[in-house]
């Protein structure tokens, strides 16, 4: 239905030819924009309902019940469902560490949370299908677990700003919500999130559309395809300084993959742009010292590269 609408809009109303590059790019742009905005609104609503059951206060309580590997795993898993925005990462960090949750477990949460953003996940499922969506979910959790464990093993506690340990968090009661509250919360989230990300979606789809119509497929496949062993590393290094919303990156990734860029390479790029970004590091600098930031970036960067290679390998055997 959306496809038919985009057909009419682009080919009939705009009078563009379906066989031209311009026609193809413009069609891709409208089709994807409409599809994604509609799906996002529906899915954010349902996901927000789930999220309303996991405020950070509850996550914190849940996490103190687990130990070692299970704790890292649960932290990553909860990172997926706990509502989180990068401006809250500092209070969450302090809240976790102060309540005695190990530093590494806190990092497992903080690493996975931005990577497996529920909005990104929805877009991956809808654009690429459940297989890739699930791969991405698993690898996001994997990167969080591995990153957290390494930071724990390195004993980085002394690189946390001293004041964090001196803070005494006052009572934090968990707000009781009824179904009306949850639905109201979900509606608000749809409005907020769609209102915030639509620009990125359009910019992302716009760039995606350009790549779709114009990028030289042979060139990309040659340099970023599965056969170039350095492609994943290059993708991650390029992705780190880029600060992009996962939502905006996905259409670009989709278009790149259509041009022969390997799946693992594309997903690594996406994870690097979301998990490691300059603004996030500047925020984290308020609670951790430069040394730990360096460790954080290296550990997460290396894990993302490893996951990228793993994917590229998996794709060659299935």
């Amino acid at each position: 239905m959306i496809d038919a609408f985009a057909d009419i809009l682009v080919y009939n109303w705009f009078g563009l030819d379906a066989a031209t590059r311009l026609g193809e790019s413009v069609h891709f742009f409208f089709y994807d924009t409409i599809k994604i905005i509609i799906l996002l609104s529906i899915m954010i609503f349902f996901i927000s309902i789930i999220r309303s059951f996991f405020p950070p206060e509850k996550t914190k309580k849940l996490l103190s019940n687990y130990k070692k590997l299970t704790a890292h795993f649960m932290a990553s898993l909860l990172g997926v469902v706990t509502p989180f925005c990068s401006c809250s990462s500092v209070p969450i960090f302090i809240g976790f560490v102060e309540s005695g949750i190990p530093l590494g477990v806190t990092f497992s949460f903080l690493i996975t949370s931005p990577i497996v953003n529920e909005v990104a996940l929805v877009m991956l499922y809808t654009i690429f299908g459940w297989k890739i969506g699930t791969f991405y979910l698993i690898s996001g959790i994997l990167v969080g677990v591995i990153g957290g464990i390494v930071i724990e093993k390195l004993g980085m506690e002394k690189y946390v700003e001293e004041y964090v340990y001196q803070i005494n968090v006052s009572d934090d009661e968990i707000e009781e919500l009824d179904w009306n509250d949850r639905i109201a919360f979900a509606k608000k989230e749809v409005k907020d999130i769609v209102g915030r990300v639509w620009k990125y979606v359009i910019i992302g789809i716009g760039i995606g559309a350009l790549i779709h119509g114009y990028a030289p497929a042979e060139l990309l496949a040659k340099y970023a395809g599965a056969n170039n062993p350095l492609s994943v590393i290059a993708a991650v290094i390029v992705g780190i300084p880029l600060y992009a919303n996962a939502v905006g990156t996905i259409p670009i990734v989709e278009a790149l993959m259509g041009k022969g860029v390997a799946l693992g390479t594309a997903l690594s790029f996406m994870m690097a742009t979301t998990a490691l970004s300059l603004p996030a590091m500047i925020i984290l600098r308020k609670v951790i010292k430069p040394k730990l930031i360096t460790v954080f970036v290296s550990v997460v960067g290396v894990s993302i590269i490893a996951v990228g290679y793993m994917f590229n390998f998996i794709m060659t055997i299935i």
Binding site: P55, S88, P91, E98, D192, I283
Partner: protein
Amino acid sequence: MEIKIYGSGCSNCVKLANNTEKALKEAGVDGEIIKVEDMKEIAQAGIMSTPALGIDGDIKAKGKVLSVEEIKELLQ
């Protein structure tokens, strides 16, 4: 009445502050708005999701931008 807006200055915090100002005016309540931007203080208040709104030392809302109407109700 002392109203505290907790948040690091992100766009949602600014929105909440603006809504609060409007709510005060519309409700005709005399109150002082204090913006708490220091992370230590925010964490100390037990807040893990910003923005948050406190009235006379009570945290009324966390992690959401309340509408003008909702704030007015809290002010009553």
